[in-house]
Symmetry: C2
Subunit: 363 residues, 2 copies
């Protein structure tokens, strides 16, 4: 879908840490024919990522122009320092989800940092490891680049080119602004999701059986790896704590209002908290769950075997590629709705051609 013909990254790329992020970056670069070298402290982890097609094992004559350090936060600074020393020509970036602490630790180490560019691709999955890696993990996602003052433009460009080659969007932020931002949109939500999920532990099965999509969504990321997240939260502790203190003040007000709900002002307090949540969630850019790269066509499909096949066959006849699709299916109803994502430039033609062939387009 995205333009894969222009590759901006040149030379060899070395990736240290063959987990979810490292292996996904390797897959995306290997697809472009880039020589990707993988290294990992775990031989089993390395072997899996290589089998998966994310790169090759290191050789003594490797000469990478770009090195990505994709290891847990506690190890990031020391691995970056070691790579800067071992490969005196290469630009080195890390993909750690905190930036101030890594940068401070590097500065304290005394290593020369003119080739270091901190960065952070905002991408991930609940499941970690190379086995969950995918070449398109970064597509459409921001990739924050945090250059230290005075850094040479070609070092910054090397990381931005990498991000673009992986279909991510480079975003320049200083390290402190980055850490405050991810404390708000990633780290505090992780804590809150975990604390809510912890309440479910030990609940009677009759209560858990009533759980619907709401509590599942609120607690989904509570399944994340505690070992990794302790490192992330510890490395960004003060920014996260500040947000949680603000939330605790609202929680205190809410608990007080619920404890004496008939008192004057109690309902107003609760309503204000809920309305504040309305405003906050509406401030998130983009529509939930919708891929903004594509246009949507909703087609009514009779609930009989072969009807979807006929629809997709005709889309093939028309020459329209289906980028994504979702079926809304009402058991007991006589028809369902197929929501098809297509490239925006073919939407009008798709609607016209399907209508001409007798399909009912409902959205």
């Amino acid at each position: 879908v995205a333009n894969t013909t222009i590759t901006r990254t040149s030379g060899q790329v070395r990736i240290v840490g063959a987990g979810l992020l490292g292996a996904s970056i390797g897959l995306g670069l290997a697809e472009r024919g880039i020589d990707v070298v993988l290294a990992d402290a775990s031989r089993a982890g390395l072997g899996l990522a290589i089998d998966y097609g994310a790169g090759r094992a290191a050789r003594v004559d490797d000469d990478p122009s770009l090195i990505l350090v994709a290891v847990p936060p506690d190890a990031a600074a020391s691995v970056v320092a070691a790579e800067l020393t071992a490969f005196p020509r290469a630009t080195v970036t890390d993909v750690t989800s905190v930036k101030v602490a890594v940068q401070a630790e590097l500065e304290a180490s005394g290593v020369e940092l003119s080739r270091y560019v901190g960065s952070h691709p905002l991408a991930g999955r609940e499941r970690g490891g190379a086995i969950s890696a995918r070449a398109d993990l970064f597509t459409g996602r921001p990739w924050v680049v945090c250059p230290r003052p005075g850094l040479a433009a070609d070092r910054i460009a090397a990381v931005e080119h990498l991000a673009l080659d992986l279909h991510a969007t480079p975003v320049e932020l200083d390290a402190a602004a980055h850490d405050a931002a991810v404390a708000l949109v990633s780290h505090a939500p992780q804590v809150i999701s975990s604390l809510m999920a912890k309440r479910l532990d030990g609940a009677p099965p009759s209560a858990l059986g009533l759980a619907g999509q709401g509590v599942r969504d609120v607690t989904r990321i509570a399944a994340s790896d505690p070992e990794l997240w302790v490192q992330i939260l510890a490395a960004n502790a003060s920014a996260v704590a500040e947000i949680l203190r603000g939330l605790r003040a609202d929680l205190d007000d809410t608990i007080a209002a619920l404890t004496d709900v008939e008192a004057a002002g109690s309902r107003r307090t609760i309503a204000q908290e809920l309305a504040g949540g309305n405003v906050g969630v509406a401030s998130l850019p983009g529509k939930h769950g919708q891929d903004l790269r594509f246009a949507s066509v909703v087609v009514r499909v009779d609930d009989t075997p072969g009807e979807l096949g006929r629809l997709f066959g005709e889309l093939g006849d028309i020459g329209v590629n289906i980028e994504d699709l979702r079926l809304e299916h009402s058991p007991g109803a006589q028809f369902g709705l197929a929501e098809i994502a297509v490239m925006p430039e073919v939407r009008t033609r798709t609607v016209d051609d399907l209508t001409a062939r007798g399909w009912s387009i409902v959205g």
Copy 2:
């Protein structure tokens, strides 16, 4: 999909309140040919639900055997009382998401309650109103029935039959157990989602631009209607407050640990909270996002026009109906994965037949 040939509900059904729940119930019953009478304080809301096919307007000679009250919590008890008086033969149930408060208000009103059965279908959507109604809203969801002690079995059965006719699963719980359960799996998550979302209000666009699926999931239900939720939370205030107090204690510990993260025990405290979240989320029954009624077949599909059409055409040839589907599509990759949901009893045949036709089944 579900068996729609046996209809258990007999006689006329009257629905008071033509919002999301009322209109969805009406749609589901009207599909079965049941005479559904709709009433709503808003003429516009009533007209919309009737246009939508959820039932017909009331007539003076109506004689319902079952009445569903689907109005906001603050109005529920008084509407139930009025319906019991107006229709001296009918079983009356309400679908309010709190049960103790409604029951207590009815008992205090002095109305004779031998025909009243409280109930609560655990179903909903972010968007309210008849326009969001769907006949399958209750499919596979629990429908809690809270009979008062000594209630006649045929009154309970009338509500259970209604739930079964809408493909829901009747669950008997007493009112207090119900309210404690929904405080945990619905009301407290709503508050927590709203409080987290409220933190996003006023954040710089550069921070909000980094938001990913995690914070979107945690805050999705923060878009819910504050007016409705104030009523729900107020009606279940003590049970919700109790859960929030437990969460606040954990939040206090987490904030303290983050405030002095290098102190002995701080990392252990954070790790314990995160691990507790792991255990809690794992205690939710079923797999997230997966519809447990169906079996899944994952097929590798080349990324060329017509390939999905060929797959679905062949599924039609085989005679397999597609209950749901999801396409995992990697831009830049040479193929995608189509995850097809089929009835469990046809999964083996589907895999065998597709394999014989040369498709690669990867899951």
